[in-house]
């Protein structure tokens, strides 16, 4: 008997809240000798690992599932929670299946994480993928293609398998399908947010990084029509865009509080899994170059990727406009330097555009949300009164 949408969503939620990565362990049980690559936020070209037969797994922090015991002795106090909880997961053995760990120069804490991981796990290949910060340079594409080739060599060393062009094209096809399905899910959020809640869309998206992508494609193919067929009616709720979930993730219960009050019609939660906004050519002569081009030319935005051709404030305004949203929640994780700095710029741009917005901070391990509820309720009520 096919599983219902609710069952599939529950399966995803369990994975998201599971610090043991049980789907990854299941996959390893069924693929003896296979390897797992863990990639830290925000974006990693998973196709390269997939083409070598690896399972790419998104490391997005442990939320409140783990108590930080060992990581505090290794990371300075004023660093965000996600860097700390990802390390705690590794130190406490929850990531003992990893063969390769990749982080990115998204922020200084994430770059440092590579050194900390390399020292503490000498058997692991701890890597920094240097995604270009000068995306506007005419030399960025050649550079990124070469950097992807370097990462492919690291993966080949770890797996003993070759990353061939043919395998890459096949992997691109799998991930194109996944991105297409995620775009469909998000289109549903924008068009009919009463059919899929913020938490549901979130766990469905995040599960992509926690299971084989082929399985996730099957899951989305089943769940999206079921969501569309739901018998639900629109309510009189404020339509908001949530911005600030590009790296550390807000707790599920915080999203639940927000969705009780507003329709979250678009967001940047787990944006790395939706980073490429269009299909990557599946029959190109040089698939690594195609992936690099997609990163530079058809991609989303976040505070940790600079692209002077496409200012972030304009992209946020476009996201709000495209989602037909009335307001924005501009959030940032505690101690997140780039997120907190961007809040000021976003706030200014939204003011200039006359778009109401609520500025807030969060931390992945927070468990009490009364303050959040009060802030969002006050914000939404004041706007609904204005709208009336």
């Amino acid at each position: 008997m096919p599983m219902s949408a609710e069952d599939l969503i529950e399966e995803c939620r369990e994975l998201v809240e599971d610090p043991e990565f049980s789907a990854v362990r299941d996959w390893l049980d069924h693929h003896p000798g296979a390897k797992v690559l863990g990639h830290f936020q925000v974006y990693f070209p998973e196709e390269i690992a997939h083409a070598a037969g690896m399972l790419p797994v998104k490391l997005a922090g442990a939320g409140s599932a783990l108590q930080i015991r060992q990581a505090d002795a290794r990371i300075a106090a004023f660093v965000c929670s996600i860097v700390r909880s990802a390390l705690e997961a590794a130190l406490s053995g929850h990531l003992d299946f990893l063969s390769v760990f990749v982080t990115h120069p998204i922020c200084d804490a994430a770059r440092h994480a590579c050194g900390v991981w390399a020292r503490n796990f000498p058997e692991l290949s701890a890597q920094i993928l240097y995604l270009p910060q000068n995306a506007g340079s005419s030399h960025a594409l050649d550079y990124l293609r070469a950097e992807y080739a370097r990462v492919a060599r690291v993966i080949e060393q770890a797996t003993g398998a070759q990353v061939t062009d043919e395998a890459l094209r096949a992997s691109i096809a799998v991930f194109n399908e996944n991105r297409r399905l995620l775009r469909e899910l998000y289109a549903l959020k924008r068009e009919a947010p009463w059919l899929v809640s913020a938490v549901e869309a979130y766990v469905l998206t995040r599960a992509a990084g926690l299971m084989p992508r082929e399985r996730h494609n099957e899951l989305l193919r089943a769940v999206i029509p079921a969501l569309r067929a739901r018998d639900a009616r629109p309510q009189d709720k404020l339509r908001v865009v949530f911005e600030g979930g590009f790296c550390e993730q807000p707790p599920l219960d915080m999203l639940a509080v927000i969705q009780e009050i507003c329709y979250v019609v678009d967001d940047d939660l787990m944006i790395g899994l939706r980073w490429l906004t269009d299909d990557v050519p599946q029959d190109g002569e040089d698939p690594l170059r195609d992936l690099a081009r997609a990163y530079l030319q058809t991609s989303s935005h976040s505070p940790v990727q600079r692209d002077p051709r496409r200012p972030k404030e304009e992209r946020l305004l476009a996201r709000i406009r495209d989602a037909n949203a009335e307001a924005a929640i501009v959030a940032a994780a505690k101690m997140c330097e780039p997120g907190l700095e961007e809040q000021v710029a976003y706030g200014q741009a939204l003011d200039d555009a006359g778009i109401p917005h609520l500025v807030m901070e969060f931390e992945e391990k927070t468990r009490v949300f009364e303050q959040t509820r009060m802030e969002v309720e006050t914000f939404a009520e004041s706007l609904l009164l204005d709208l009336v």
């Binding site: 002795a73 290794r74 300075a76 660093v79 050194g115 240097y130 270009p132």
Partner: protein
């Protein structure tokens, strides 16, 4: 009483004290140029200590302004909080870099600084050596609509990475391409073509500066160490940054080296009674610059070397060897090498620590984390753990901030420093037995 006042009476030599006099003169000259540029609108670039591209900017006579240096100078003069709080009132979080906030405050207050006036930036060069550089540059970009060139220097890549190998040529081509784009921006701003001979002169000056800087660092292998790496060393580094690629910079470093050699010959140490030789890892606390050093001096502790003098010195500590026969290619190559060996090498610097502990006969390491600088501070507790476990090198980990006085706790700092020295003393006694 300050550290400076407690210096032993120096034998008569005109070399003693020459470095500080020269440093003061050069710093005043720099501020005069900044203020002049603010008044007459000549092209000025905001740049950073880790990768300023000064060689190119000097070739265009573009005035270089270092906001990290101007921010720390407000802290030394006790006024950083005025600016920092102005930025917080403007919406910036208490949890972001204090340098950024001091600088935002300066710009909100018409760029008036206790030492002069900052020019409006005509352009910005920001490397990726610190991610906050990029965010900081975007603040000016929005405020002044000035061009921002992010000079992307792909750095240390992780396990098994060796600088100069592992795809180095692809990295180098990328950097060279960006340097050519930077030159284009400079040409647009100044209305002049690049004078390649001026660039070569600047590069040759950096070669000499780097050689002298390395000699300066090596002088502290002597006992007693002739300079304190977190007092005099900060001065050397500041001038090396401001005058990178100029003859004045070379002359200054020669003066510093001559004085240090004289001090060694005369047996004058940074401290009259040097008992513990330490490596400093991290960045210092400029709001309590002298007081911080006093806490160590009281125990006879001197910072013989600091990692600060490596990464924040623009990477010249590992040597710069420009080949002016192929200027742009070589500039790209050496900038990359210094970024991989020195500036981004801080993420995995335990082997370098081991090396210098041996070379400089050090007794321990002080790790100082600051909230303002996650680039340097994030993994410091782990590095301390590593050395304690693997190398039996005693380590002290303390935290405060560069410019935010709210993060300085005198009692806590003193307790920890005292406890560290008590442990070092006991360890020494045990070994002597």
């Amino acid at each position: 009483m300050t550290v400076e006042e407690k210096q032993p009476p120096a034998p008569r030599s005109e070399l003693i004290g020459a470095t500080r006099r020269e440093s003061r003169r050069l710093m005043e000259g720099w501020w005069q140029r900044l203020s002049d540029a603010a008044a007459d609108g000549r092209p000025a670039a905001n740049v950073f200590v880790m990768g300023s591209a000064a060689e190119i900017l000097h070739a265009f006579d573009i005035v270089t302004c270092f906001p990290e240096i101007t921010a720390l100078q407000t802290a030394i003069r006790g006024s950083s909080m005025d600016y920092l709080l102005a930025a917080e009132d403007h919406g910036y979080s208490p949890d972001i870099c204090g340098y950024v906030k001091v600088d935002v405050g300066l710009h909100l207050k018409e760029r008036r600084h206790p030492m002069g006036t900052l020019p409006k930036p005509s352009m910005v060069v920001a490397t990726n050596m610190c991610n906050t550089y990029v965010k900081w540059a975007e603040i000016w970009e929005r405020r002044y609509r000035c061009p921002v060139v992010v000079l992307d220097l792909p750095g240390w890549r992780g396990s098994g990475f060796e600088a100069g190998r592992d795809g180095f040529e692809a990295d180098r081509r990328y950097v060279e391409g960006q340097l050519r784009e930077l030159i284009g921006v400079c040409e647009t701003i100044t209305g002049r073509r690049l004078d390649i001979d001026r660039l070569r002169e600047s590069m040759l000056a950096v070669n000499r500066l780097s050689e002298l800087y390395r000699d300066v660092l090596a002088e502290n292998r002597h006992r007693p160490a002739p300079f304190n790496a977190m007092l005099d060393g900060v001065n050397y580094m500041g001038i090396a940054n401001i005058h990178r690629g100029t003859e004045e910079g070379v002359r200054f470093m020669q003066v510093a080296l001559d004085e240090l050699r004289e001090r060694v010959a005369l047996g004058i140490g940074a401290l009259a009674d040097e008992r513990f030789r330490l490596l400093f890892v991290g960045t210092t606390c400029y709001t309590h610059f002298v007081r911080f050093l006093e806490l160590f001096k009281e125990w006879g502790g001197v910072f013989v070397l600091s990692e600060y003098m490596t990464f924040a010195g623009g990477g010249i500590d590992k040597g710069i060897f420009y080949d002016t026969d192929r200027p742009l290619e070589s500039l790209a190559e050496q900038l990359l090498l210094s970024s991989q060996r020195s500036m981004s090498g801080v993420f995995y610097s335990q082997d370098w620590h081991d090396q210098v502990v041996r070379d400089y006969q050090l007794d321990g390491i002080c790790f100082h984390g600051v909230k303002s600088c996650r680039t340097i501070s994030t993994g410091l507790p782990d590095l301390r753990e590593w050395h304690m476990r693997r190398g039996d090198i005693p380590g002290l980990f303390v935290q405060s901030d560069l410019v935010d006085t709210r993060l300085w706790s005198e009692a806590q700092m003193k307790n920890r420093v005292d406890a560290f020295f008590e442990a070092l003393q006991s360890r020494r006694l045990m070994r002597e037995r």
